[in-house]
Symmetry: D3
Subunit: 238 residues, 6 copies
């Protein structure tokens, strides 16, 4: 029995609010149960040094947690003077996942900076960030198209992400914090709208996991991400 009484293959409630803050080209609040992340996409009319003159754009992501987004207060990374290894790992993952569905040559010499800031955490912040950030990027790109700054959308597909795991011996979908801190295996899966795998990151927190468990987790992820992509589509047509 899951602490939340959800069924093994049941997602938490998803809410995607577009235009959440007023300055960013794309701004989304994504809520997955009690996990809440503000995802913004900012268009900046220049590219990093290593891409200058290469006739293409760039997309990069940063991630942060408000100090009291978690159960006990964490140190503020800006005050400590550096980002933790975990933070860097997550923001690299978000950036790679989004770039997998963006053709940077169609973006022109500009950068989309994605910022994912967790205001309340209850497990699954990195996957919620990816799912929410995609919508923010979509809005930013729509704006570039409307302003005729680009002729064609650089987006080749949707992208969403979810965690799966083995909790008390049972493969489950979308772990919340209570499950996440007590599971044997935790796996984050990123997939495109058309069902290709972009990232699979599985870790045995307790006992190693088997090929069978892996298969079951990938099945759950696949079905969960289809629902998330559907939610993205619904949000984008409102």
């Amino acid at each position: 029995m899951r602490p939340s009484n959800r069924k093994p293959d049941q997602l938490r409630n998803i809410r995607i609010t577009r235009h959440y803050t007023k300055h960013a080209e794309g701004s989304v609040l994504i809520e997955c149960g009690d996990t809440k992340v503000i995802c913004t996409a900012s268009v900046v009319e220049k590219v990093p040094g290593f891409l200058k003159g290469k006739n293409q754009g760039w997309m990069t992501a940063e991630y942060g947690m408000l100090p009291r987004s978690t159960d006990s207060r964490m140190d503020r990374e800006a005050a400590r003077g550096k980002q933790s290894g975990r933070t860097q790992e997550i923001q690299r993952l978000i950036g790679r996942s989004l770039r997998a569905v963006v053709d940077l040559t169609k973006l022109g010499e500009r950068t989309i900076h994605v910022d994912c800031d967790v205001i309340q955490a209850d497990g699954g912040t990195r996957t919620a960030s990816i799912t929410g950030a995609f919508v923010a990027v979509h809005d930013a790109i729509t704006l570039l198209l409307e302003k005729k700054l680009i002729a064609e959308s650089p987006l080749s597909d949707f992208v969403g992400a979810i965690s799966v795991g083995v909790y008390k011996g049972v493969p489950v979908l979308d772990l919340d914090y209570l499950e996440d801190s007590d599971c044997d295996t935790d796996m984050n899966v990123v997939m495109t709208g058309s069902g290709g795998f972009v990232e699979v990151q599985g870790t045995a927190e307790g006992a190693p996991f088997s090929r069978e468990e892996m298969g079951a987790m990938l099945d759950l992820a696949q079905s969960g991400i289809q629902q998330l992509v559907a939610a993205q589509k619904t949000a984008l047509v409102i």
Copy 2:
């Protein structure tokens, strides 16, 4: 004429939402017009080294802005590896302002960490932070009283803050971003509920200001802060 069509002595709309996030002992979203700040108060059961064994508590504040809370994206301070001088100045101001109405000897050997994170900026983020943080601290202290961890409230008064300035030659209350970036004088005032001054920080951005202008600005601040304290009281009784 003010860009927002407000009268010189008119505050922006204030909204104070308590219990905004679920983990913190006090959690407030304060909205002053389009300026939105999440203020949390976290109780930690220890004091900094310099206060160990001194039989008193501590209260300190940190401040941050989400990278795209502003019109153009700012660098993330955690990624740059240090907080700007402006950030440090602001968080020192917030901490001093709140400590002015807290009797630390009544707090016991614990620390209240205040975090003010701006999710949308339109001028006046530091004063909104103080006004909102007071409510979050009040909630955290109420919790300590309810849990009988302290016998008596350490709060001696309310505290609120507002900016005033000279805009196009006219003293005005509660500058928004358009006014702030085009004014001659910008002054932040922090006052207690009973009308004492805690901080006055005035800066001539353009021409120096006169004693008369200073007097007019202090009058405006006084009336504005009375309204803010009234809003705090209303929020706390709901």
Copy 3:
């Protein structure tokens, strides 16, 4: 009774020594009682990136204290690897105060770097820094005029600074360290030679202060800064 036996409206002895070190375009030792600060103005023939090609100059200030300028030794900021919030706050204040009387468009594409280094501290180091730095900047500008690098002085006025406070219930001028560490209110005031306010930064260290006290402190500051500007003028004609 003040610890120094001064009257409430009495400044400490001021001594301004020009050409204190030999390399800088302007170099001043200012002594306010036992507070001693070396203020240099260095002319550098370039501007920061954000001003390139804008046909104007820049002026900026840095502040430091020798580790044993104070009663007990402080950590060396260069060894700790960062400047404290207090240091940054002070150097931002010095820079803003000096820029208030300099027309940067008349300076040409060059920067005046002001360095204020406290070699002995007894209260009032930031205000002494401003008063001394103005003289160093004046000397640097005179040199630029003499070398015909600029046609017209960018200086529009004099600028000086002093602290005032409420000590044992009495408003007093020019707090020394003993007063500063035991006062209810501490206020730093920066004014031009013609009597306009540039900065007012008042903090209630103990009890909040009233409008009446504020008025009394501003009166004291006004008279004190007039004397300081007179001392600057005397130093500059020798």
Copy 4:
């Protein structure tokens, strides 16, 4: 055809040299083709703060590359003043992988520090680090047993790691640098000697990958890691 002419399921030559340097409790040079990594295990008789008094040990890993271990010289991380996100990601992976086969409660209140330093890189440095580090840790633990500092081995299994990928449309085992920089999918797999999965980290560098490709890659990884564990066993009995 692979650039190295290897068959899709063919590992590079493995060489494991124990006692490579003289100071460390465990010291191994592992060579996987042209990739060469020095792995040391250092026993330190204390635990980090968060484990003090908890009657258990700790194991942690650090990773580095000599600046010219790669084709073009990289900046030295010690000189730049921080470790890259990639470095932190890798050292976190190494630490987790080794801890998966170590019972920290049997280690006593001591820490095993693993250092993996790449002296020559040709792809697969993180997986070679894990495979080599296990042998170094084994040697360090044998020493603790010989010195009777621990009564029972904390090791529950062997652990090895390998990369697999999809190169020119074909799933292949053990990518070298030429393949790694030109593949569609790159996946690092960590498994125990008894065949359980510890980590699976797959990334689509180009096109997303399918469930079928994932299955093929996991098959390759499984067979490769069995060979690596055999090589570890051979090295340990010499």
Copy 5:
């Protein structure tokens, strides 16, 4: 001919001013020609961690230059966030040189922090720092003896330092900046009052130097340091 018209074996004028600032236990301004350094010795009643409980004291030195102590303004190390390699090299040299004549076991569990801050530089700042710092340390130790905090002086000898070099082919004593920046060899020598060598650091800036030149330089250094020790003694009896 030397730029200063000094003879090859002629020191610059030395001036040692004790009690230069009021807070430090020892405070000296040393002037060697136009090189001016404030040297303070601060007694702190604790020792660094690695000496706790070892029944001995510690002495350490830090060195800095005011940004405009030099001909063109240098970056402030506190603002850059780190001390240069040169600074660290110099402060390590000063510390070692002073410790050579101090018996730390006679100092008790306390630390003498030496701070050498260059307010005007004209070559030879590190050697002037050592010579001046010795006097400051002597004053601090005298105070400890007077207060009966130690029973016996930890000082075993005097110590002084000077630079020598080969300038335009001629070995010379006490290089000023013009010579230093144009010499073939630059050597810093630290000696005790009784004539033993504590440090010899010679560097060929241009052509390598010979054993004969080295002998000539050491002769000059020996005679120069005798004069410096005499000046220290004179200063200490005034």
Copy 6:
């Protein structure tokens, strides 16, 4: 009697292995007894900012120790976020020593980056680094000549380095770790192949040293460096 049973004027066994790693233009493993250092020379086709357009090249060196190259594990400098003063001192010494025999104007607008990484330490790592790095630089320059990127060798001489000291009252050559940590004087000497001094850095660790001892140490160094240069020549002709 020396711990190693060597005679006072006896070097440890030297082994110089060229082409040690495959990527660098010059790559040498130097072994001096149990001290082992990888020295690489990397040619980069640009110069630092301060040399741009000056029609000359640059050569610089960095130094590091693997964390467990020493008897007890040292912190990794990349993880601590800064290089120690000792590291910086050593890498500045290596760079100066090598530049003494290189005519940078003959190098063209390129930089040779030297990296000296200690994989096993037993005293004398800085001098072994210099001796080994010279061979790596020689190989890199030979490559530049072969590729006709430069017309003439910028090397004017060989350069080698050795430590000497006073151990138990006897001047000895080439101190190992046991001697180094227990000697009265430790001196590092750098000389050219033709016998000129490039650097002499002597430190009295215990009692000050005399002119006579200095002479004896320099004699030992001279004979030792002749043997090292002979070993360099032998290695280069193989």
